[in-house]
């Protein structure tokens, strides 16, 4: 048991060092505990208008949803169309890894971009929420001004997003995808019919839950839902990340060139 605690202490110290060594600019308005350290379980902050304040820098707690969006579901619970099941099965051994968009420095798509390891930043105003992704210097805009989707959205990598508040939960609907992204590294496909609903709920100062519903009737027989959690990252900021600078990995990945 002593060894266990020593190891856990080691991990804790290691994690603390990781973020302490970056820029020495403390994140403003961070609640502190009696010990003077950030209190990540403090109540989630609100804006003057009473809406939850989701702003901050976030990162996935675990890489498991990057690898498998359905990591928390039971085997067989993803309602694949037969062609989608066959495709995922063919990708299971990694033999098509070169065909994944992000391996080619192209955008990860929604929801994978938030599960990828690079942090992302929410900038919130009453009418628009902007999400800046360090990954490949990408961004999303979520319009909260009541607009509806255009009739014929041009296919895009990260889609078009509109949002509204449901109590303390931000509900983001996204459509207008190009069908070229995988939902995860396991290779769950998407099509241009993809419609993603994300429900963001900041549970406390340091933790946010994102419930994700995948509705893509061309690839899945019915909508399916998963829930991820992300954590606030203190005392850092986003850095430039231009993926296509020196992408040497592609040559070592199996699969066909991306069409």
């Amino acid at each position: 048991m002593k060894i266990l605690f020593a190891l856990l202490a080691g991990i804790t110290v290691f994690c603390a060092i990781v973020h302490a060594q970056w820029v020495k600019v403390p994140t403003a308005n961070t609640p502190l505990g009696a010990d003077g350290k950030p209190n990540l379980t403090a109540t989630a902050p609100r804006l003057p208008d009473g809406k939850p304040d989701l702003s901050g820098i976030w990162e996935p707690i675990s890489p498991k949803y990057l690898r498998d969006l359905a990591a928390d579901l039971k085997p067989g619970e993803v309602p694949y169309q037969p062609w989608a099941k066959a495709l995922v099965d063919s990708r299971a051994d990694g033999s098509h890894a070169r065909e994944e968009s992000d391996a080619n420095c192209l955008p990860q798509g929604i929801p994978k971009i938030a599960a990828a390891p690079a942090p992302w930043k929410i900038i919130q105003s009453a009418g628009t929420i902007v999400i800046l992704h360090e990954a490949f210097n990408l961004w999303r805009q979520v319009f909260l001004d009541g607009r509806q989707f255009a009739e014929d959205l041009n296919p895009s990598w990260l889609g078009y997003s509109i949002g509204k508040w449901d109590g303390d939960t931000l509900v983001v609907e996204s459509k207008g995808f190009n069908g070229k992204t995988w939902l995860d590294q396991a290779g769950k496909p998407t099509t241009e019919a993809l419609h993603v609903t994300e429900r963001y709920r900041r549970k406390n100062f340091g933790t946010m839950e994102i419930q994700i519903t995948i509705d893509d009737p061309k690839a899945y027989t019915k909508p399916w839902t998963v829930t991820e959690e992300v954590r606030l990252v203190l005392n850092t900021d986003l850095l430039e990340f231009i993926c296509n600078e020196n992408n040497r990995d592609l040559a070592h990945l199996p699969g066909n060139a991306l069409q």
Partner: protein, 132 residues
């Protein structure tokens, strides 16, 4: 107790899990094939999406020198781990713990680098669960 150990095992696994932000790690590297290398740094590519550096490894018996390409995390991930682009220099002798590439090339994904001159241990940004 068992549960604690399971939690710990998971935590350690997460730490040890390689971090490939932009493609599948398991498609490129074989996690069952760890390798230890010692050699002299000949080149450092401090670039996105992943840093590569190259070392010349000399076979003590035959004297034959082999060049290895070694991959780490992104510059941002390494900066958050305390690295800078000057942490490792050309001609530094390094001890590397890494995972071999599946395609049989002299390529490996680095877990840790130790500078032979001062014993300073540098994590390679391949430790998932801690940082991008």
């Amino acid at each position: 107790m068992n549960q604690s150990f399971r939690a710990l095992a998971i935590a350690l696994l997460l730490l040890a899990m390689p971090l490939m932000a932009h493609h599948s790690f398991s498609a490129q590297y074989d996690s069952t094939k760890p390798i230890k290398l010692t050699g002299k740094v000949t080149k450092v590519e401090w670039t996105n999406p992943h840093i590569y550096f190259y070392i010349d490894v000399k076979d003590e018996k035959t004297g034959k020198v082999t060049t290895w390409a070694l991959e780490m995390g992104s510059p941002n991930a390494l900066m958050r781990l305390g690295w800078s682009r000057n942490s490792m220099k050309i001609d530094d002798v390094v001890n590397v713990e890494a995972t071999l590439a599946k395609d049989g090339s002299n390529l490996a994904n680095v877990r840790t680098v130790v500078l032979a001159s001062n014993g300073k241990r540098l994590l390679a940004g391949s430790s998932e669960g801690t940082t991008p």
